[in-house]
């Protein structure tokens, strides 16, 4: 027998063995006596996949990196879920801070009215946003307060690098970005800024009390820390993601966060 014939025979023999093995495998799986084993393996596999998917997604929501699949999913989710509410809350900031609703006024030019007797004059030098992520909030803050300098802080090195390359050049020296963890100090000078803004970040702060103390230090007296929260996140988590029908769409989008 020639060498080529022999190798051809060996190959066909190998294929036959493979196809026999596949057939045997299919036969074993479809055998009703093995149904419970097959079902158990499928359920465990699906559970592990679900757990891993949400764990990775959650990590990326806290610390996004656009270069990864889950990072892109997390950023898409942030854009879809947060941007509209963020815009509303930033547009309302002057109302919350009780500043005159005059477009030409900036924080640096106005007096902050206080609820306690009397008024005080505080000159706000800097605002900063924690967890700026994709940078939407920074751009909106910049539009609302065109005379103020901004500092963007984020836990994610990747987002800071991205902002450094794409956002910072657009701000003509008004924006600085840096990596920081709110639970471990921000590295900002005491009494150096008038406004701190963050949205949907509190869930990712390991120690809420420690974070609050860290936020207090760099604020000027009379300055405000604005924390924007979507209560549906809490409600959905407490209700084990079983919302009433009229909240169906919103709760579905929350579930993406909650299940992670």
């Amino acid at each position: 027998m020639s060498r080529s014939n022999r190798s051809s025979n060996q190959q066909s023999g190998g294929d036959a063995t493979k196809s026999t093995l596949v057939e045997q495998g299919i036969e074993w799986i479809t055998n009703p006596r093995h149904a419970s084993i097959v079902a158990s393996v499928a359920i465990v596999g699906a559970g592990l996949t679900y757990f891993a998917y949400h764990k990775w997604l959650e990590e990326q929501l806290a610390n996004p990196d656009r270069r990864t699949f889950f990072g892109r999913r997390a950023i898409q989710f942030m854009q879809k879920s947060n941007t509209v509410h963020m815009r509303h809350s930033i547009e309302n900031l002057k109302g919350v801070l009780q500043l005159p609703l005059d477009e030409s006024m900036s924080i640096a030019e106005v007096r902050l009215l206080r609820s306690s007797p009397g008024m005080c004059l505080r000159v706000f030098r800097l605002d900063y946003q924690i967890g700026f992520g994709i940078g939407d909030g920074l751009q909106m803050l910049s539009k609302e307060f065109p005379s103020n300098k901004l500092i963007g802080l984020d836990l994610s090195h990747a987002m800071v690098e991205e902002a450094q390359a794409t956002l910072v050049p657009k701000f003509d020296g008004r924006l600085q970005v840096a990596q920081a963890d709110v639970c471990r100090g921000l590295g900002l000078a005491p009494d150096s800024c008038g406004l701190i803004y963050n949205m949907n970040c509190v869930y990712f702060w390991e120690d809420l009390d420690a974070a609050v103390q860290v936020l207090r230090a760099p604020l000027l007296q009379g300055g405000s820390c604005i924390t924007v929260m979507k209560p549906a996140c809490v409600v959905s988590a407490q209700c084990d993601a079983k919302p009433p029908p009229h909240q169906h769409h919103r709760a579905n989008t929350q579930h993406l966060i909650l299940a992670v």
């Binding site: 509303h88 109302g95 207090r216 996140c233 909650l258």
Partner: protein
């Protein structure tokens, strides 16, 4: 951070809890709710000596809002 902790934070960190944490740290706290159309309303929190029922009702009311803004003001000292 571990997944379990973040999941717990979603369950436990309601606007009232976050506001309380800022209050404990010496901030003056104001809670604002924002409707879907962007309309802003200042929410009046029950006083510390109010009954547990009224505190729970306030918490539940906050949880029904589309968006809550926790404003923590660092007190001005002369």
């Amino acid at each position: 951070m571990q997944s379990k902790k973040v999941t717990d934070n979603f369950k436990n960190r309601s606007p009232a809890v976050v506001g309380e944490a800022f209050g404990k740290a010496g901030f003056q706290v104001k809670l604002w709710s924002q409707a879907a159309d962007g309309k802003l309303t200042l929410q009046t929190a029950p006083s510390s000596d109010s009954s547990d029922a009224s505190k729970a009702a306030f918490n539940a009311q906050l949880l029904r809002q589309t968006l809550v803004i926790v404003q923590a003001i660092k007190e001005y000292k002369e």
